[in-house]
């Protein structure tokens, strides 16, 4: 352990450049001779493109080229793939129609790219785009998740009832039997509202072709540059992998939205060869609203069967998930294996059966967004448990405790094998922190001030550390989800770590360096973390699903094992001792039973001078790599409790207290972990109270700017009060479970449970805006008066 090792709340190394404006983002990159791309997007949700006349656009001064879907097809550039194969319950494969980067025949959502204009300047490209004449035949649109399967509109000819798949998981017969034996059944119908990710840095891309080497370079806002390269090479036929370098430099937030391969970066790479100039595109914020993959958008009917004591017997769930106009890269995996596999929550439920239909609509594609499936699962289970407790007159904490999984490992009926946890411990600590016993008194006090007070629980679980490659492969994933690392020790003893993880706000440059500091006994300023460049890092799977600590750092840890082994051998040569007698501790090599010792930097230098080692026995140098594949998902879990006050006159909900007690396993940097919880909870509260992507009937995104799309702000939030419990994660060497998504997963249920507790009824949907809460207060009051 060093002062900058595991567990130390050291300030983030990367913040100096971020805070002083010295970061290097994609839009900061400029290449000689660079031209600019402007994407002409469909203003209609659903239309035939009858014709594109480029003459007026090409006549604009500075316009170099106008490219369309026809040009892509002529160059045999493929469509964007759906990377997770889902099989319907009748055995048929999912329906994923082609997704061309520029429309070919039809447009399927407002913002669907139709053509790209390449010009000398950004302004000329825009002028060219405005001048481009596109002839549309407008079609009726379907946008509502619940209407997709019955609408007369057909988004894709290949997909009857606009359905991509009808999938199921669990045991239907056992679940039916559980319901037949139930003493009480609780039923809920809920909507998980559609969200826009809103990373602070808009997406951007800069493609460049080098005719001398026939190779491309792409700078892009990606959470996983190697996966982007693989997809562009293997599926899109842009360039062979070894002729395409993808660089994801500093990236200003992703939340999932920068995982996927999008039309724009693909087109920039391809177009750079066509026009013989580097091609750059940076999204405007209004483009981000229309073209970044959205999140969530489920409607769900759920039923929970209980016995007379409130023990859960069975759980039945039917969900319709909106994919939008096309199936984005991970979109089909999100409402299936990242969602329904978590429906057991923290509970021992003997029988579960879940059905998920995924549908196409004339809306922006939906894909993984912070939490990805797990917030949706948590919202279903944590809402229905709360409602069941109220219906049965049992304290919601008591009902939870009665049903918690208490023995580990625990096999749920929906694939997951929970390996470690103590759900009672986090619940107890959270109840103590929020002073649950004092709630009744606080509620009376609020009532005296004319306010309705409520309290809500969310005892969430998530599956992170994504994921064991064999397991996800058997479930239809197109890739393995291991991670790679290479540790390069320089002669002077400082260290470069190349990682396949990608940092876009998580603070890897600090936490990963802390691991190295801890293992090698050197301060973190002696450690450089290198990521985000396919020419530097050989391969990697990138950052999402709270996987970089559990999987990415485990790979580094394995590489460090090898480095230390090698360094011990070097030391053994230098100190003329048996390698088995070399001990390494706090940066110093010693020979057991002697006073001989060598410092880390002495050994590293000698590894490279190689004067003191017998190179016939031992290679010079000090560099090792590792690929780490986890043995299981990790299962972060915890208890969040939210307390709200509602102003009956206005419908405004104020979060007056919020307690989060999380079990993330080993914590590398508590300050960064707390920051992750703060940010996650803020996003979860945003979904619960403010955020909503709203389409009108014609398919226009009504909430397409910050004028109408509400983002949570500091004054919407209280000072969160955090606590931690700890059970070590057995599936990786560091015991890390992951912390990046927990807040966004737990918070919506906690907030809505608190609001419904305050209201005294369950009739409110997310986001619980002041208007909705006001109506919920009023309609219930009228209903009571009428009785």
């Amino acid at each position: 352990m060093t002062a900058t090792g595991i567990g130390a709340a050291v300030p983030r190394k990367e913040d100096k450049r971020f805070i002083t404006g010295a970061g290097h983002y994609t839009d900061d990159m400029n290449r000689p001779g660079q031209a600019y791309a402007y994407f002409v997007r469909s203003p209609y949700a659903h239309a035939w493109v009858k014709g594109i006349d480029a003459r007026s656009a090409l006549a604009v001064d500075g316009v170099l080229s106008v490219l369309t879907g026809e040009n892509l097809a002529a160059d045999s550039i493929g469509g964007l793939p759906a990377g997770w194969a889902i099989t319907s319950k009748d055995g048929s494969p999912m329906v994923t129609p082609p997704h061309p980067c520029l429309a070919q025949g039809k447009v399927r959502y407002v913002g669907d790219p139709v053509a790209v204009v390449i010009a000398e300047t950004q302004k000329a490209a825009r002028d060219g785009g405005d001048a481009l004449s596109v002839d549309y035949e407008i079609l009726d649109a379907v946008t509502e998740t619940g209407q997709a399967q019955t609408a007369s509109v057909r988004v894709h000819d290949e997909a009857p009832r606009n359905t991509a798949f009808e999938w199921e998981i669990g045991d239907k017969a056992a679940t039916d039997a559980a319901f037949a034996a139930a003493k009480h059944v609780t039923t809920i119908d809920i909507v998980n509202n559609r969200l826009v990710p809103n990373a602070i840095e808009p997406r951007a891309a800069l493609g460049e072709f080098d005719p001398g080497t026939d190779s491309f370079t792409l700078y892009t806002t990606s959470q996983n540059p190697h996966v982007a390269r693989l997809v562009m090479s293997a599926f899109l036929n842009i360039a062979p992998e070894h002729k395409l370098r993808v660089i994801a430099p500093d990236v200003g937030g992703g939340f999932g939205s920068k995982i996927y391969v999008y039309p724009e970066e693909t087109v920039c790479v391809w177009a750079s060869r066509k026009v013989g100039r580097p091609v750059k595109w940076t999204a405007e914020r209004s483009e981000s609203f229309l073209s970044d993959a959205h999140g969530r958008d489920h409607i769900t009917h759920a039923e929970l069967a209980l016995d007379e004591r409130g023990k859960f017997l069975g759980f039945r769930v039917k969900t319709v998930a909106n994919l939008g106009g096309y199936a984005s890269l991970f979109a089909t995996g999100v409402p299936t294996y990242l969602y329904a596999t978590l429906l057991s929550g923290q509970y021992d439920i003997p029988a579960i059966h879940a059905e998920v239909d995924a549908v196409y609509t004339n809306t922006t594609p939906v894909d993984a967004y912070r939490g990805a499936g797990r917030p949706e699962a948590t919202f279903v289970i944590e809402r229905i448990v709360e409602v069941a407790a109220r219906e049965m007159g049992v304290d919601p904490a008591t009902l939870r405790k009665r049903n918690f999984v208490k023995k580990f490992p625990h096999q749920t009926p929906v694939i997951m094998l929970y390996d470690a946890g103590d759900y009672g411990a986090s619940l107890a600590k959270a109840m103590e922190l929020i002073d649950y016993k004092g709630f009744a008194k606080r509620r009376r006090k609020s009532a005296k001030n004319g306010k309705l007070r409520g309290i809500g629980f969310s005892t969430y679980i998530e599956a992170c550390g994504i994921a064991p490659s064999q397991a996800v492969g058997s479930l239809g994933a197109g890739v393995g989800l291991w991670e790679s690392a290479e540790v390069r020790v320089n002669p002077t003893g400082n260290v470069e770590v190349l990682t396949g993880s990608h940092s876009h706000g998580q603070g890897h440059e600090t936490t990963f360096a802390q691991l190295v500091s801890d293992r090698l006994g050197i301060p973190i300023d002696q450690v450089e973390i290198v990521h985000g460049d396919t020419d530097k890092v050989q391969f990697g799977m990138g950052t999402y699903g709270s996987r970089s600590g559990a999987v990415g750092m485990s790979a580094i840890d394995r590489a460090l094992d090898k480095v230390i082994d090698k360094a011990k051998k070097v030391a053994s040569h230098l100190m003329e001792a048996d390698p088995g007698d070399i001990e390494f501790k706090e940066g110093s090599f010693t020979v057991a039973g002697t006073d001989k010792s060598m410092a880390w930097a002495e050994v590293s230098l000698n590894a490279y001078t190689a004067h003191g080692i017998s190179t016939a026995e031992l290679e010079p140098g000090l560099k090792e790599g590792a690929f780490y594949d986890p043995t299981n998902f990790t299962f972060p879990a915890g208890c969040h409790i939210c307390e709200v006050e509602i102003d009956e006159d206005t419908g405004v909900t104020e979060i007056v207290d919020y307690v989060a007690v999380d079990d993330f396993g080993t914590v590398i940097n508590p300050m960064i972990v707390e920051g992750q919880v703060h940010g996650g909870v803020a996003q979860g509260v945003g979904q619960a109270l403010i955020e909503n992507a709203v389409y009108d009937e014609s398919g226009q995104l009504v909430s397409g700017s910050y004028m109408d799309y509400g983002m949570p702000r500091a004054d919407d939030l209280p000072s969160f009060r955090l606590g931690f419990t700890m059970t070590e994660c057995p599936s990786n060497p560091l015991g890390i479970k992951g912390c990046g998504e927990a807040g966004a997963i737990a918070a919506p249920a906690a907030v809505i449970n608190a609001i419904t507790d305050a209201l005294g009824h369950e009739d409110i949907s997310m986001p619980a805006t002041p208007q909705k809460v006001w109506q919920a207060v009023r309609s219930h009051r009228f209903a009571e008066a009428a009785e």
Binding site: D649, L689, I690, S703, M707, D708
Partner: protein, 264 residues
């Protein structure tokens, strides 16, 4: 943004001449509405006349019982002015609640008033305080100035130079912000000066800011929140959108009016 010619006059007279000789010209004050509109290519003026080079348009002073606020006074200037805080604290508080720090340090009272955004805060203050809008050509009473959504009594070539406010005895502004934009979903400004009571509502009206004579009458009898009990606002003339129906806005007008009276 489209290309435009940019002028930076140093006097109001020069600006007015430029405005008259360029039919398609727009005045640039704080730019908090105009610049985003230009960036989105929703406006394409051929000429932009920037008033930021005109000196003396941002003076704030109290003359007798009248507060003078120069048209180019920034929202932050009004919010932080000791003169305003002393004379009409409700006006300083209103300015403090506009937008965010960036907006408050750029946006101007003259720009806001001339734009007459139906969700802007200042129009409610001007109407409820019985303010006078001074231009390079005349003086216009607030009651005559705000003529409809984004519409005012300003003629072509007319430039607002300052706003004058008679100092009230009591005044307060109560705003219910749009959860997304933080503009006023409903904002109610009330004032009492001698026997004159004024209640003005922004954010809610289909035609922009308006007064509530029924509320004013009730408050004339007794200036207390209780006087408004039982009074309702007709939702027919109000805006409805994804954030608030006309009915909800009508309700909020009552709530915000009571809160303003209680705070005044």
């Amino acid at each position: 943004m489209y290309a435009f010619d940019y002028h930076r006059p140093s006097s109001v007279r020069q600006a007015a001449n430029m405005l008259k000789s360029n039919g398609e010209a727009k005045l640039l004050a704080g730019g908090q509405t105009l610049i985003p509109t230009l960036k989105q290519r929703l406006a394409a003026p051929e000429v932009l006349i920037d008033l930021n080079g005109v000196e003396g348009l941002d003076v704030i002073e109290l003359k007798g019982r009248t507060l003078h606020v120069g048209a180019m006074a920034r929202h932050a200037d009004v919010a932080n002015s000791e003169v305003v805080k002393e004379a009409i604290p409700a006006l300083a508080a209103l300015a403090e609640g506009i937008g965010d720090p960036h907006v408050r340090h750029c946006g101007t009272i003259g720009g806001s008033v001339a734009n007459n955004d139906p969700a802007a805060d200042y129009p409610a203050a001007l109407l409820a305080l019985g303010a006078t809008i001074h231009t390079n050509e005349r003086k216009i009473g607030a009651d005559e100035f705000f003529t409809g959504m984004f519409e005012t009594a300003l003629e072509d070539g007319e430039i607002i130079t300052k706003i004058t406010f008679p100092v009230p005895r009591r005044a307060a502004y109560s705003k219910f912000p749009n959860p997304a934009s933080r503009y006023a979903l409903v904002g109610v400004f009330v004032s009492k000066r001698g026997s004159e009571i004024r209640v003005a509502v922004t954010g809610a009206g289909a035609d922009g800011v308006f007064r509530l004579p029924g509320f004013e009458d009730a408050l004339s009898k007794r200036f207390a929140a209780k006087s408004l009990d039982g009074l309702t606002v007709d939702a027919d003339d109000l805006n409805g959108d994804i954030h608030a129906s006309a009915e909800y806005r009508a309700h909020l007008i009552g709530v915000m009016a009571k809160r303003a009276v209680a705070a005044a």
